[in-house]
C-alpha cells in the first residue's frame, strides 16, 4: 500500500520519448533523480543513487570481465588456427561462466609462512583500483558516474594503484618466483606510467581540458587522432604500447612470464583470489582501451567530418553507446592481436624501450603538439 502511494506520487513523466534515451542518457538519469527526490529526503536520495550506481557498475564489471575472457579465448583461437571454446552454450559463450563457478568452488589453499594479512589484501587492492577507474569513464552521452574536472589525471592515478596489490602479492607469497615477478612488475609499471601520462598530456594540450566529457565534446567536428596531425597519431601509438605494458599484457607480460616464472606474482593464489587477479587484468585492459577510445578516437562521439552536415547527421543515428563499445573493442582487438603474435621482451629491453625510446619521443611530441596548438595549425 505504502509502496504504491510512494510510486504513484513520485513517478513523473520522462521528458523525452523513451527511444531517444539511447542518444542522450541524461534525460533518464534526471528522471530517476527527480522520482527519487519526490519519494524521499535528499540524504536518502544520494544514498539510493550511490547504491544504484554501485550495483550497475558491479554488474557491468562482471559482465565485461566475463565477456573479455571469452573474447580473448576466441581471438587467440582465431590467431592460432583453433576453434576456441565451442561446447558450453552456443559458440561456447557460457564457457567463462562455467569457469567462474569452477574458480568460486575451488579451495583457497593457505600458504605456510606467507604474510596472511597482506596475502589476502593484495587481490582486493588490485580489483578496487580497477573498479575505481571505471567510475570516471563516459560510456555514452550522459552516462558517466562522476564527471571530474581532472578526469584524465584521476584515471591514471587510480589505475596505477593496482601495482601496490601486485607488489604485495609478490612479497607476501613467500615465493621467489612471485617476488621476481612483483619486482619486475613494479619497475615496469612505474616506468610506463610516464609514457601513458605524457601521451595523454599531448591530447590534453589539444583539448584544453582534463575533463573527460569536455574532451569528448571537443571531438564533435573530428576525432583527435585526425585533428592533431602526426603528434596525436604518435601519441596514440605510444599510448597503445605503454598501456599494454602497464596492464602486464601482451609482449610485456614479464610479471607473470609463464615460461620463466611459472605464473609470476600470482603463483601461490588459488580459487577466487586468483580469479580477482585474472579479472582485474581484463578490466584494466578494458579501462585503458576505453581511455584510448575516449581521448583519441572520440569516445561515444560518432564519426564526424568537419562541415559535412548530411554525413554527420547520418552518423548520429547510430547510438553513442554503440560507438563507444565499437571503438573500445577495436582497441582491445589490437592489443590482443599483438599479444598473440609477439614473443616476450626481457626486463632490461623493456626498460630500454621506455627510457631510451618512448620517453624522449614523447617529450618531443608534447613540444610539437604545444607548438601546433599555439600556432593554431590543427583542424
Amino acid at each position: 500500500m505504502l509502496l504504491d502511494i510512494v510510486i504513484n506520487k513520485s513517478v513523473t513523466a520522462l521528458s523525452v520519448p523513451w527511444w531517444k534515451v539511447v542518444y542522450d542518457f541524461s534525460a533518464l538519469t534526471e528522471w530517476i533523480d527527480k522520482s527519487l527526490h519526490n519519494a524521499m529526503s535528499p540524504f536518502w536520495t544520494t544514498i539510493m543513487e550511490l547504491l544504484i550506481i554501485g550495483v550497475l557498475i558491479l554488474l557491468f564489471y562482471a559482465l565485461v570481465g566475463l565477456f573479455l575472457v571469452y573474447a580473448e579465448r576466441k581471438v587467440c583461437a582465431f590467431m592460432q588456427n583453433r576453434l576456441g571454446p565451442n561446447r558450453v552454450g552456443p559458440f561456447g559463450i557460457f564457457q567463462t561462466i562455467a569457469d567462474l563457478f569452477k574458480l568460486l568452488f575451488k579451495e583457497l589453499v593457505p600458504i605456510k609462512n606467507a604474510d596472511g594479512f597482506l596475502f589476502n589484501l593484495a587481490p582486493f587492492i588490485v580489483i578496487i583500483a580497477s573498479f575505481m577507474a571505471i567510475a570516471a569513464i563516459p560510456f555514452a552521452k550522459g552516462l558517466q558516474a562522476v564527471d571530474l574536472n581532472i578526469g584524465v589525471l584521476y584515471v591514471i592515478a587510480v589505475s596505477a594503484m593496482g601495482v601496490i596489490g601486485v607488489l604485495l602479492a609478490g612479497w607476501s607469497s613467500n615465493n621467489k618466483y612471485s617476488l621476481i615477478g612483483a619486482m619486475r612488475s613494479g619497475a615496469q609499471i612505474v616506468s610506463y606510467e610516464l609514457s601513458v601520462g605524457l601521451a595523454l598530456i599531448t591530447i590534453v594540450i589539444l583539448a584544453g581540458s582534463m575533463q573527460l566529457s569536455v574532451i569528448v565534446e571537443a571531438q564533435r567536428d573530428g576525432w583527435f587522432i585526425f585533428k592533431g596531425h602526426i603528434p596525436a597519431f604518435l601519441a596514440f601509438i605510444i599510448f597503445l604500447i605503454s598501456s599494454t605494458a602497464e596492464t602486464n599484457r601482451g609482449p610485456f607480460d614479464l610479471a607473470e612470464a609463464e615460461s620463466e616464472l611459472t605464473a609470476g606474482y600470482h603463483t601461490e593464489y588459488s580459487g577466487i583470489k586468483f580469479a580477482f587477479f585474472f579479472l582485474a587484468e581484463y578490466i584494466n585492459m578494458f579501462i585503458v582501451a576505453s581511455i584510448a577510445a575516449t581521448v583519441f578516437l572520440g569516445g561515444w562521439m560518432p564519426f564526424h567530418v568537419g562541415h559535412w552536415e548530411g554525413f554527420n547527421h547520418i552518423m548520429d543515428f547510430i547510438p553513442p553507446f554503440i560507438w563507444y563499445i565499437g571503438k573500445t573493442f577495436f582497441v582491445i582487438f589490437i592489443m590482443m592481436w599483438f599479444k598473440w603474435t609477439f614473443p616476450r621482451l626481457r626486463i632490461d629491453q623493456l626498460l630500454t624501450l621506455e627510457w631510451k625510446y618512448l620517453l624522449p619521443i614523447n617529450l618531443v611530441n608534447v613540444l610539437i603538439m604545444a607548438f601546433i596548438v599555439l600556432m593554431g595549425w590543427h583542424f
Binding site: Q80, I180, L254, E258, E260, P343, R344, R346, I347
Partner: protein, 374 residues
Amino acid sequence: MEEKEKIATPDELQEYFINMGPQHPSTHGVLRLLVSLKGEMVQSVQPHVGYIHSGIEKMCESITYPQIIHLTDRMDYLSAHINNEAVCLNVEKALEVDIPDRIKVIRTIMSELTRIQSHQLWWASFGMDLGGLTCFFYGLRDREKVLDIFEETCGGRMIVSYSCPGGLMYDIHPNFQKRVKDFIKYFRKILPEYDQLLSGNVIFHERSKGIGKLTKEDAISFGITGPSGRASGFSCDVRKHEPYSAYDRVHFNEVLLTEGDTFSRYIARIEEMRESMNIIEQLIDNIPEGPFTVKMKPVIKLPEGEYYQRVETARGELGVFVISDGNKNPYRVKFRSPNFCNLSVLDHISRGFKIADLVAIGGSLDLIIPDIDR
C-alpha cells in the same frame, strides 16, 4: 651474537637459489635446474638429473636385440626412428648382414621425416619459451602431417619402432610416396611463415642474438653435437663424416654457422629442415624394388666382442656401444646420448645472463629429458 644490519650495495647483492623444475613450464619435462641468482643475473646453473631415470641401459642387458629397439624409442622420443636405426645398424654390422638398397633408402627417408617433425616441435616449444604462444600451434599443426605419414606407415605416431635388425617391420604403404611428396610441397610453402612469425621479429632478434655464446673450442671440449654444435662451427654431422644407410648417395649441405649464439642455433635448425627436405626429395622417387627385410636367424646372437655405431639424431650424435659375450642378450649396452652432453654446457654458456635468457638458451639447446636420464 650482535649483528649489525648492513645495507647491501649492488655489488654485494645477496645470492639466492631458485629451483627451476622438476615441474617447471620451460624445462619441458622433469629436469631440475638449481639456479643461483643475483637479482636476475644467473650466477651458476646446476642441472640435477635422474628424475625420469628408467634404467634403459640396464634393462637392455636382460632382453634380446630385437626387443632393445622398443626401448630406444623411449629415450629420445622425438628421434624415435633414428634411435631404432642406430641399434639395427649396430646389430647388422656385428652380424655382417648385407642390407638391400630399398631398406636403406626407406630408413633414410624415415630418418629425415623424423628430423623434420622433431625440429617442428622444437620450433613450436622454443617460440613458447620466448612467450610467443602462437608458434606452438603453428608448429604442431605441421608436425601432425608428418605423424599422419608415420601412422599410415607403421601404426605408431611418435613411438614408431619401424626398423628391426635386418630390415623393416613392414613394407611402406602404397600411399607413402604420394603423401611424403604432398607434405614436402606443403611444408616448403609453409616454412616462410615460420620466418614471418619468429625469425624476422625484432623482439626475437633482441632476445636471441649474442645470447649464450658457445665458441667452437668449447663446443668440441664439451662434446656438443647436432645443430647446437654446428651453429658454433663444429663440423660434427655423422651423416657427412661417416655415412650410414643411404646418406652416401645424396647431396646435402652440412649447415655450419660461426656465431654460436641462440640465434644461430635457431637458424641452424630451420636450415636443417630445408636440407632434410632436399634429401627426401632426392630419394622419394628412387626407392628401389626389393624385399623390405632380410631373413635373419630366429634368435639373434652377436659374436663375442665390442661394437659401436653412431648416427645423427635430430639433437646430435647418438652412439650405441654394445659388448656381447655371444649370448642372445648383450652383456652391456651404453648409449652416448646427445642431450646429456648438450645439457652439460648449459651452466657454462648461461652464466652472466638473465633468467629470461636461461630459458631461451635452454630452449635453443633442445633438450629431451628422458634421453638425458635414460
